[in-house]
């Protein structure tokens, strides 16, 4: 027996305090508590909110939407690029969501420039390919940090904020031009939806290709003015797609475009040259439409980083930022479910 009760040495206690404080500080640093400038998912998501606050229970962006189910009919051609089961010839169930790029779930359709398509394709082995594509031909900015600045400029009370942002960020010009001068259509079924971000497809041989993809509408696009669209009503797009799909499945051809070495794979503001190899890999068919409050897409996060074996993210920084932000949005809105009642009687247009 030794004497275990020596009087506590001040030095020893101070050392213990130091070790614990250092551990706690390292943890706090990792959590970003000492880095107020760090762009967190929470800050990115909060930047979408209008001055009146976010629409509780809804997605923080692309808040207005309608669910659909259908199939992806793979023609087998994609297997050359990726060993993902989804490209093997066959039909795979799809859960999707047509949506508008706005934080306001009640926005009038004619007021929202960006239209989106969320997809979840499931293969029999249980793997999933989730994606969220939009109708813009290019993305407005090159990095998530700049996107955050754009959100602040958009939300600014200063009417010149966007012009100032565009002047400071020349890469914004192609998107700005499309936003101002590109044609509008009167239907989700007439929209071309683009991944914009690049991803890496891994073939069975192990060969890797950096790709982007698009969904090209089978329906012929008919340009409409925003005035004409506004006259058709604030929810014309949802009414239109429900009506079209009730009549017949609506289709899009999925085209995968393969980058050449040296193409700008990390920057979604830069389109690749038009002569790049494009492979038609299959057809998306929307077969049934469901209103969102009780629809199957409501509580699905169309996280673009949920990829099957045979695909992975590239050097494009956006899928990671989107994945982080979508998860934050999902956590917030599912916790607010009571603010977005499941069965609505006209309360949520």
């Amino acid at each position: 027996m030794t004497a275990p009760h020596q009087s506590p040495a001040f030095g020893s206690l101070a050392l213990i305090a130091l070790v614990i404080a250092a551990g706690a500080a390292a943890f706090a640093y990792t959590a970003g508590w000492f880095s107020p400038q760090r762009l967190t998912p929470g800050k990115l998501v909060a930047a979408f909110a209008p001055p009146t606050g976010a629409a509780l229970g809804h997605r923080r962006n692309h808040a207005k939407g309608i669910c659909f189910t259908g199939v992806f009919e793979a023609n087998g051609a994609g297997s050359e690029l990726s060993r993902a089961a989804v490209f093997a010839r066959g039909q795979y169930p799809v859960l999707g969501r047509f949506n508008l790029g706005t934080a306001d779930p009640n926005a009038a359709d004619a007021t929202v420039r960006v239209r989106g398509l969320g997809l979840r394709i499931t293969t029999p082995d249980g793997q999933e390919w989730r994606s969220a594509t939009i109708n813009a031909p290019v993305f407005p900015v090159s990095t998530p940090q700049t996107f955050y600045e754009l959100l602040h400029a958009s939300g600014s009370k200063d009417p010149k904020a966007i012009a100032a942002f565009a002047a400071a960020h020349p890469e914004f010009a192609p998107f700005g031009d499309w936003s101002k001068n590109g044609p509008w259509t009167g239907s989700y079924a007439e929209e071309r939806f683009n991944s914009l971000n690049s991803f890496v497809f891994i073939a069975g041989s192990g060969a890797e290709h950096v790709v982007r993809w698009s969904l090209l509408p089978a329906a012929q696009p008919v340009a409409v003015s925003t005035d004409e669209l506004a006259k058709r009503g604030p929810n014309v797009l949802e009414q239109d797609i429900a009506q079209r799909v009730a009549g017949a499945p609506q289709r899009w051809t999925m085209v995968v475009t393969v980058a050449n070495a040296g193409d700008p794979t990390a920057d979604p503001t830069k389109p690749w040259p038009a002569d790049r190899r494009a492979v038609e890999v299959g057809t998306l068919a929307a077969q049934q439409v469901q209103a969102e409050p009780d629809g199957p897409c409501r509580d699905i996060n169309f996280d673009p980083a949920v990829l099957p074996s045979g695909m992975r993210t590239s050097d494009d920084p956006f899928p990671a930022a989107r994945s982080a932000a979508y998860a934050k949005s999902y956590d917030l809105r599912t916790a607010e479910a009571k603010d977005y009642p499941r069965t609505t009687t006209g309360a949520t247009p």
Binding site: P4, V19, A321, A325, A337
Partner: protein, 191 residues
């Protein structure tokens, strides 16, 4: 418990230090990944899930080993409140080691995310999709992570207190890696 032993078995000591490294890494990865939108977010998430399942598996092995081999007794002269704190904190550590991965797994299931461990390898959903369950499990996973880290700091503080202040030789010796370390007269385990 088997009485009379002064140290944990080699297997228990191995599990202690292996899991210590895994769990501390896990907590830092977790708190780091939810605070960034940089590409490392995906890397950290991709580590977080399989590491969590590895910790769950190790924790279950460790529980069985602990039930089989027991633990050295606490120092006989340890004041009652400290004994109580020691026993309670170890129950809490075991509970968290097992509960945290299950909460994470359940949370992902309730959100209908595929629980991908490696490319092409995923676990089945353990719960049906539910926004209320997801919210509950998310909150538990999040707040218990901070409680877990606090408990680990307390555990380290207690170990250092034994080593430096009480000098009862118990904490460090009981889980020391090297057998040549002089066996403590008494001991119990760390994490």
């Amino acid at each position: 418990m088997i009485g009379g032993q002064r140290r944990f078995t080699p297997l228990q000591r191995l599990l202690h230090w292996l899991m210590a490294a895994c769990i501390v890494a896990m907590l830092f990865i977790g708190v780091g990944m939810v605070s960034t939108v940089l590409p490392k977010y995906l890397t950290l998430v991709a580590i977080h899930k399989p590491l969590g399942i590895a910790i769950l598996a190790l924790a279950l092995i460790r529980l069985v080993v602990r039930l089989r081999y027991g633990a050295p007794p606490l120092p006989a002269d340890l004041p009652e409140p400290m004994k109580l704190a020691a026993v309670a904190s170890h129950y809490a550590l075991y509970a968290l080691m097992i509960a945290m991965p299950l909460l994470g797994w359940g949370m992902l299931s309730a959100a209908a995310y595929p629980v991908v461990l490696f490319s092409g390898w995923h676990l089945p959903a353990v719960l049906r999709q539910s926004d209320s369950l997801h919210t509950l499990l998310w909150a538990a996973h999040f707040y218990l992570a901070f409680a877990f880290f606090a408990l680990i700091l307390l555990h380290v503080a207690a170990a250092l207190f034994h080593a430096l202040v009480r000098r009862d030789g118990e904490a460090m010796a009981s889980v020391a890696i090297h057998d040549e370390v002089e066996p403590a007269k008494q001991g119990r385990h760390a994490i």
